[in-house]
């Protein structure tokens, strides 16, 4: 009915927080890694604001495509109150229930997947740094 509004709300917060982190962030750290065994390359680490952009892209992209599905099913309309379920109290209650269950679960799962992505990336960075220390 309007479950996509919860990920949209999170996407707005993520965009604002991401911009604020980007402004405060120092220049990306530089590190040396070994490619194909011996070849040494100087690379820049992925900044936290770049990682926040992954979450932002998943939330905005997913919400936009989900919003389209709601338009397709006639649940979102281009006139006030824009959500057909908001027209009467019974449907509005059902819509709020769906937002608090399906919508919240969507936002939580997308965030959980992002946290796994950040965890894996941090692990890969630490491993690359460790390899560098051993070879030096």
């Amino acid at each position: 009915m309007a479950c996509f509004l919860i990920p949209v709300a999170e996407a707005i917060v993520t965009t604002v927080v991401g911009k604020s982190i980007e402004k405060k962030e120092a220049a990306p750290e530089v590190m040396k890694i070994h490619v194909d065994g011996n070849l040494e390359e100087t690379v820049t680490k992925i900044t936290f604001s770049q990682k926040v952009k992954w979450l932002r892209n998943m939330l905005w992209g997913g919400s936009a495509l989900l919003a389209f599905e709601h338009v397709w099913h006639g649940e979102v309309v281009p006139w006030f109150p824009f959500l057909t379920a908001a027209g009467n109290p019974e449907d509005a209650a059902e819509m709020l229930h769906e937002m608090s269950t399906v919508g919240v679960t969507m936002a939580v799962l997308v965030t959980a997947v992002w946290l796994v992505m950040v965890g894996v990336t941090s692990y890969a960075e630490r491993r690359a740094e460790k390899d560098e220390t051993v070879t030096e």
Binding site: P7, G61, L65, F68, V113
Partner: protein, 105 residues
């Protein structure tokens, strides 16, 4: 069907991104993240629907399946349109800028 279509789009976009990364600046990462975000959201939707319908969830009416497939393909097309718009606006290769502002001889 919508979930399946989006998952296939996400996998294809990710494989193409992997093949061209890190040299490519075609914003394929944005496209794949967009499809993955939608896939996760539809997956949650599918879980809640399954909890309600149980086994009936896996035996949809042919007309519903066709409508869902049509929706899925439309979603993939919309994703591609958003990606093209993001690509042209951010213009990482400077192509749009180059076309709009040609160097004076």
């Amino acid at each position: 069907m919508t979930l399946l279509t989006t998952v296939f789009a996400a996998v294809i976009a990710t494989v193409v991104w992997y093949k061209t990364a890190p040299k490519s600046n075609m914003k394929l990462g944005t496209l794949s993240l967009m499809y993955w975000g939608a896939s996760i959201m539809w997956f949650v939707d599918a879980i809640f629907e399954y909890a309600e319908l149980k086994a009936e969830y896996f035996t949809p009416a042919p007309a519903d399946m066709l409508n869902d497939l049509f929706l899925g393909l439309s979603v993939v097309a919309l994703g591609l349109i958003i990606w093209v718009a993001v690509l042209l606006i951010s213009d990482p290769k400077g192509v749009v800028k180059g076309v709009l502002f040609k160097k004076a001889n």
